[in-house]
Amino acid sequence: MGKKLLIHNDHVPGIHTLDVYRAHGGYASVEKALKTMTPDQVTDEVKKSGLRGRGGAGFPTGLKWSFLAKPEGVARYLVCNADESEPGTFKDRYLMEKIPHALIEGMITSSYALGAKKSYIYIRGEYFYVARILEAALAEAYAAGFLGENILGSGFSHDCYVQVGAGAYICGEETALIESLEGKRGNPRIKPPFPAVQGVWACPTVVNNVETIAAVVPIVNEGGEAYAKIGVGKSTGTKLISASGHINKPGVYEIELGITVEDFIFSDEYCGGIKGGRKLKAVVAGGSSVPILPAELILRTAKGEPRLMTYESLGDGGFITGTMLGSGGFIVMDETTSIVKNLWNFTRFYHHESCGQCSPCREGTGWMEKILNKILAGKGNLSDVDLLWDIQSKIEGKTICPLGEAAAWPVAAAIRHFRAEFEEYVKNPSSIKDVKHYYRLNNLVEA
């Protein structure tokens, strides 16, 4: 069994209540940090731990914190990004639903390190019931004196608020999240200025993922060095993986970074192998926006080394033969899966979720969906595959926020690794099952 730091107590009855959480060592990091450490010491521990952002980009958290501007007399904010909307990712929901106090504890400790007197948990609209769980937990924390004025007699005061979004994928982008939090339309801001300089209410702000903030708790409790001992190289600690797809045991798993992908998919401790004993076809390793990899490349790198569940190993080979750990949305597909249909589904999602601010994403995502519609309705040409490739290359890197890339990467990877499948659909439309279904959806292609 790998070491678990975040969800080791998830099976304990009543762990969502403060009393049970306290009985299992909860809020020790708040006591330790506020009573025995300075804010800079907390930041140093996070730096030593090598913790990297768990939301998808994998940016070192300690470094992000050190970028926070600290002008005199200006408030600073910590914002927790709980707008977990990446298809295939559901780890934050699990954590907040089961152990809400783990997040709140992390919020208090992190805010202490950053000198933030106020923090927000921005949670997606679809997680309305989770917001209620968090609010109940916040009320308990206030009653126990972990939030409010002069926490534990340390002189540090802190207020934490839960803000529910209205259900837009784009609001998971940190600047769109801030806009939405301020009550505006959730459009990404143009950077610079970065949130570390001008974030919420034009004040310096740190935006971190739920899991990142929760990971601060074990780092403070056990020390950054102990945390850094887990994992391989620059991928330290544990990571929550949302496993879904054609596997025997889908669910949220906490892994030590550095186990092999093969182990994760096939061992009984984790996914338990492919459903029905079928063959593995492809894996989307980090949420829908990261490049899909065929079985041979996800299990082994192009060099023939076993692929590990780390930022570096999954990224080995760039996007030609590699992918990304991303947010940890691990989607497994067996041999019965149609990659084209899967891509159509992803592309439809990005088309629907584009905010409409900048031209390449607004127009390009819809165009790609229409071409895939056309191919799936049995009306495609070989040139459509090339056109798709060209469109994705013209979206990637030209947009305000990473949604453009998120929409372009899956298209690029599907064509790169599974071009034959597209060509089969074009040359032999009768091989497409349920054409009628796509035909109906596809009122844009003329008969």
Binding site: A168, H351, E353, G356, S359, R362, K398, L444
Partner: protein, 332 residues
């Protein structure tokens, strides 16, 4: 003061200048096209992505190139920065892609569009577009919304530059104009189809780079290239309007009143609705003289430069022309 090199031209600019502004200072041959940036509107720019440039050297301190093309209208220059615009084939290809994206859902109804002839999208498509479209699907359409007696909104033509939204936010005093929905269903609208009624609402027409917002009092009266622009002014009572405008004549009739525009197509000063929509008699105005119109513009085919400007142009190029004009130059 930071020094920046754009397409091989070095220029020293005040701190805080954007790449686009620096390029415009060098001249139109290096300035990237801009569809959404508007000098007079704060926070405008960054949306259309036509002004993207390649930064091959970040600054003297950090000489690394920037990994992606950047929006030149929203990126400030750094000392020692090196930028490629027209000299980078990759970048021109990327811009061509952006132009294609802007055009795939544009109705291309130029023959019946009042903006034709002074449309920035036409210019952009001419300079950076392809001959043929690769888009074979039905183009996007919107329900027509009536936004009042002065301004006509034709959402189907909109390229979502957000300039009019910024005007509503910053120039008019009561905002009833904004964006509904998202993605490619996003549309400019007045909130629950309110009529925009305030003294400066007409300026949304001038800032619109395409024919999405046009002057209802000028609707279908004439093609712009059959009208003659003249600079004129009147004493305007409005505190924020100085009454300096451009009149568009057909014969002796004033068909249209707009703000005066500079060489980048931006209004020099915003004007009030009274000047724009209510003063359509020649006697309302004191005429100053013909407006300067670039000879690249289709409007100039029917027109001329002001005499003084022509003189300046000729004197500037006298060496190249190979003759020395007389001091009393006559344009006959």
């Amino acid at each position: 003061m930071p020094k920046v090199t754009i397409d091989g031209h070095e220029i020293e600019v005040p701190k805080g200048t954007t790449i686009l502004q620096a390029a415009r200072m060098i001249g139109p041959h290096v300035a990237p096209p801009a569809m959404c940036f508007y000098t007079k509107l704060k926070t405008s720019g960054g949306y259309c992505r036509t002004c993207i440039v390649k930064v091959t050297k970040g600054s003297a301190q950090n000489p690394n190139p920037m990994p992606k093309p950047v929006a030149s209208c929203r990126t400030e220059v750094m000392d020692g920065m090196e930028v490629q615009n027209n000299t980078s084939p990759d970048l021109l290809e990327a811009r061509k892609g952006v132009v294609e994206f802007l055009l795939i859902n544009h109705p291309l109804d130029c023959p019946i569009c009042d903006q034709a002839g002074e449309c920035h999208l036409q210019d952009l498509g001419y300079q950076n577009g392809s001959e043929k479209t690769r888009y074979e699907f039905k183009r996007r359409e919107f329900e027509k919304i009536d936004i009042g007696k002065y301004v006509s909104l034709h959402m189907t033509r909109c390229i979502m530059c957000f300039r009019c939204v910024k005007v509503a936010d910053q120039i008019t005093d009561k905002r009833v104009h904004g964006v509904l929905h998202r993605g490619d269903a996003a549309e400019i609208s007045t909130y629950i189809e309110n009529v925009i009624e305030n003294d400066f609402s007409g300026n949304v027409i001038d800032v619109c780079p395409v024919g999405a917002l046009t002057d209802r009092t000028f609707r279908f009266k004439s093609r712009v290239w059959y009208t003659k622009p003249m600079e004129a002014h009147r004493k305007c009572d409005h505190a924020k309007c100085n009454g300096k405008v451009r009149l568009w004549f057909k014969g002796e009739d004033v068909l249209r009143v707009t703000a005066r525009k500079d060489q980048w197509g931006e209004a020099e000063e915003f004007i009030c609705n009274t000047c724009r929509f209510e003063k359509k008699r020649k006697s309302d105005w004191i005429i100053e003289g013909p407006s300067p119109i670039s000879h690249h513009s289709v409007i100039s085919t029917n027109h001329y430069m002001s005499l003084n400007m022509a003189k300046v142009e000729i004197l500037k190029h006298q060496k190249a022309l190979g003759f020395i004009p007389m001091k009393k130059l006559d344009l006959e």
